[in-house]
């Protein structure tokens, strides 16, 4: 029965982005948490600025005339609602998408997100200090995990769920590459035994941030190297946050859309997932690291952007047929009054017709 239920293209896109934003929030909290643990005396600013770089926010940060001290970076990501890559901004976007999706998602999903949104909007500068920061990150992670659990237990598993999962997985894969990249940006010079130990401690921190430390311990050789960590986070086939596992799940979901729901247009997206896989498996990790891990991760991130584009082109983009230049010049929106038609004004005072909340430009690195 459910195979035949049509899904509005707008809903598919909204689900995709709601899931992406929430996954982004969880990972951002993980990144902030691990950055705090990377702070070493005298080099705090460096550690925090790495966060700016891996999120490709150098320009946005500079434009605001901000300086890269720890407090400013923390505020930038935890308090500033108008910063598109901040946690409050992502929660806003997730909730707005959820609002358009209310006919579709479970009441419990909506209610939790509504309450989580309220908690995040209430974060104060005080919570960013000292040991409170880690607790705050924990609260945020838990909020998303609660969402994920409620979704798992209550969300109807039709094609909409596939689009939700695709959004979540693509963001997760992207975020894992960023988490790995943070080590590149705060790499300490190798050499002495003391440095080697320090280096290993930091890599263990990366693993912990990805909730993969214990799993890694089980599968890794006793005296592990950075290559082992990189290999684990990129290629392990059982670790939930590894890039290849995410890619494999996306392939399965795309296959479901085709075979179970009869959707055409998955071919181009499947070719992209194949490319991500090939890029990751084509060279030994030792070579990848030697030739430049940062550049390599940038490449994976670009491939993921292309994959999202293919999914969008196939299933989302045709929902508004008019080309931009054919849209009526001035948008008419009803105002409160006759016939109870309410304003369609957003808080900005601008006419709102965009129904799916998504980034205006894809985030990317210019290598």
């Amino acid at each position: 029965m459910s195979q035949n239920l049509p899904l509005l293209a707008r809903y598919a896109e909204g689900l995709f982005w709601m899931a992406r934003y929430l996954e982004r929030v969880e990972n951002m909290a993980r990144l902030i948490d691990v950055t705090q643990s990377f702070e070493s005396p005298g080099r705090e600013a460096e550690a925090w600025y790495a966060l700016i770089r891996i999120n490709a926010d150098e320009e946005a940060f500079a434009k605001r005339g901000l300086t890269a001290d720890p407090d400013t970076v923390k505020r930038f990501y935890l308090l500033e609602r108008d910063n598109p890559s901040s946690i409050p901004n992502s929660i806003d976007a997730a909730r707005l998408n959820a609002r358009t999706l209310r006919p579709l998602i479970s009441t419990e999903m909506w209610m939790q997100l509504n309450m989580f949104h309220r908690d995040v909007a209430a974060i104060t500068a005080d919570q960013l200090e000292g040991d409170k920061l880690s607790r705050l990150c924990g609260m945020i992670k838990l909020g998303v995990q609660e969402h994920t659990g409620i979704t798992e237990g209550t969300f109807f598993r039709d094609q909409g769920w596939c689009f939700y999962e695709l959004g979540r997985l693509i963001e997760r894969a992207d975020q894992t590459t960023r988490l790995l990249d943070i080590r590149f940006h705060s790499l300490v010079p190798l050499g002495t035994e003391e440095h080697r130990v320090e280096e290993m401690t930091l890599w263990a921190g990366v693993l912990r941030a990805a909730a993969g430390y214990h799993a890694f311990r089980r599968v890794a050789p006793p005296g592990f190297t950075p290559q082992d960590v990189v290999r684990f986070l990129l290629t392990d086939t059982s670790f939930p946050r590894s890039v290849l596992l995410c890619v494999g799940q996306m392939e399965w979901l795309l296959g479901q859309l085709r075979s179970r729901y009869g959707l055409r247009g998955t071919v181009a997206a499947l070719e992209r997932t194949e490319e991500v896989r090939a890029a990751i498996l084509s060279r030994p990790m030792e070579r990848v690291i030697a030739e430049g891990l940062h550049e390599f991760l940038d490449g994976v991130q670009r491939d993921l952007i292309l994959l999202a584009g293919e999914i969008g082109t196939a299933f989302f983009r045709d929902w508004r047929p008019l080309a931009d230049d054919q849209q009526p010049a001035a948008a008419a929106v009803p105002t409160e009054g006759a016939a109870s038609q309410a304003a369609v004004q957003g808080a900005s005072g601008q006419a709102q017709t965009q129904s799916v909340i998504k980034p205006s430009v894809a985030r990317r690195h210019e290598p």
Binding site: P6, L7, A329, A332, E336, G337, Q345, Q352, S355
Partner: protein
């Protein structure tokens, strides 16, 4: 030591007004007295705590409407008052019959003015009042709608005067809202006050969505086996968006926005992840003006280009039909008793409030002479805007109203001040009388069904008569006692 619990009814006095929870109605089988006793048993402090929990519930659930000011949009809940309003089975039978009669008259009137125009030819209603009305739609002339139903969803605002008599204050025949609160208020009551409902035999309100879906299926173009129904909403920035979500979910149909639909070869389609799917009935929550930019406002981005063409070809049904606004206009309202008699050959079951039509010389003169005693209302407005309540207006306000009346008399009607009934409402001081109204909802496809009860809106400010949510009104759960 245990302190005696405070009785919430201490100090309650409804004075000259009819109290909706007075225990001496006689036809309630003692239900109201039991309810009052149960409220007293809870005590004031516990009542406050539970009322707060109920409101918190509504916030968390996002059962909100949006208030727009110049710079911001704020999600608010419709304040919920936990003391229910009770209608007896006898009262409801009377109201239900009155609402059905009115809906039948509204539909007959709309059919007539868009076809033979007998009523204006017979001078029962002045022709110019109908045909120069901005809500009259020439596009509707001689266009057949199934079962002669134009107003599929109708909300009729009813008040109760000092004698307890029900009378109609206003018809809402375009896109009336508020029904979602009727159902959600009941859910909140069941969660937070199970002890008040226990043992009461109440008419359920849960099947509104199912009834609406049935009506929408009935009105679909003939020959369609399993019609696709959709709800067309202006989107998340509309203040009634929650209600649109609620109704789409209850009906089990997609909530679409204009851009989700397309008209190809005079048929309506919706854009899905796969092929375009045909659409047969549209419950639209968008005003006529915004429905189709090729016919009405060209700058509308909410509607669907070509929709009216597809409708006129008989390929899609619209609920409500286009052009119903001419029937719920405040100017036409004054003629409703005559309209009911004209088409149905019956006396009106529910009277209207005495109304003076200022476009008529005598009505204008009457109004100007007693401005300080009358309520002056603009025709064609809704939401309680532009109203001057004579006895409460300052001299300056009365002069503003007088100038407006003289400038454009046909824009105004006036009515005596009705001593609206009151019901005990939780306030800082305990339970106090607050004025309220009732908006029952009628759904009409092949025939008319009325949701038992309706939305009871209560003016939370002491002495206030304005119940609109945009102006500080709240709502109550409305109980209709079941027949024995």
């Amino acid at each position: 030591m245990t302190l005696p619990i405070a009785d919430p009814f201490d100090g309650y006095d409804s004075g000259q007004y009819f109290c909706e929870l007075a225990a001496d109605r006689g036809d309630d089988g003692g239900a109201i007295a039991r309810l009052r006793a149960a409220i007293s048993a809870i005590g004031l402090d516990a009542l406050r705590a539970r009322a707060a929990a109920a409101e918190n519930d509504l916030i968390n659930l996002g059962i909100t409407f949006t208030v727009y000011s110049e710079a911001s949009a704020i999600d608010r809940i419709l304040p919920f008052d936990c003391i229910p309003r009770v209608l007896t089975a006898t009262e409801w039978r009377h109201l239900e019959a009155g609402v059905k009669q009115r809906v039948a008259a509204l539909n007959a009137f709309l059919h007539d003015i868009y076809h033979e125009r007998k009523i204006t030819k017979d001078n029962v209603v002045p022709a110019d009042l109908v045909f120069t009305n901005p809500n009259y739609r020439p596009e509707m002339e001689n266009f057949p709608v199934r079962f002669g139903t134009y107003v599929h969803i109708c909300g009729i605002d009813i008040v109760r005067d000092q004698a307890g008599q029900f009378c109609v204050l206003e018809d809402n025949a375009r896109t009336p809202s508020g029904v979602s609160y009727v159902v959600e208020n009941r859910h909140v009551m069941l969660r937070t006050f199970p002890d008040l409902i226990a043992g009461m035999r109440l008419r359920p309100v849960d099947d509104y969505g199912q009834r609406l879906r049935e009506a929408m299926t009935e009105i679909a173009p003939e020959g369609v086996d399993d019609p696709q129904v959709v709800l067309l909403s202006p989107g998340i920035y509309n203040s009634a968006y929650f209600e649109h979500v609620f109704l789409a979910r209850e009906m089990g149909v997609p909530l679409v926005e204009g851009a989700d639909l397309a008209v190809v070869n005079d048929r309506v389609w919706m854009r899905t992840t796969g092929a375009m799917r045909p659409v047969h009935t549209i419950y639209r929550r968008i005003g006529d003006d915004f429905l189709d930019p090729t016919v009405f406002r060209a700058d509308s981005m909410l509607g669907v280009p070509g929709l009216i063409g597809a409708w006129r070809k008989g390929n899609v049904a619209l609920a409500n039909a286009v052009g119903t606004g001419v029937a719920d206009d405040k100017a036409i309202y004054a003629y409703m008793p005559r309209i009911i008699r004209y088409y149905l050959d019956q006396d009106p079951i529910l009277p209207i409030v005495e109304t003076h039509i200022c476009r008529e010389h005598s009505g204008l003169q009457y109004t100007l002479d007693r401005l300080d005693q009358l309520v002056v209302k603009p025709v064609g407005e809704s939401g309680g805007y532009g109203i001057t309540i004579g006895p409460r207006a300052s001299k300056a306000e009365l002069e503003v109203a007088r100038a407006a009346l003289l400038k454009e008399p046909s824009n105004w009607i006036s009515q005596p001040v009705i001593g609206l009934s009151v019901a005990p409402t939780l306030t800082e001081q305990g339970l106090r009388p607050r004025h309220l109204d009732l908006r029952p909802f009628a759904v009409t496809g092949r025939s008319t069904w009325v949701l038992p009860g309706g939305l009871s809106r209560v003016a939370l400010k002491e002495g206030s008569l304005v119940v609109n949510s945009s102006q500080g009104g709240g709502s109550k759960d409305t109980w209709v006692l079941a027949e024995d």
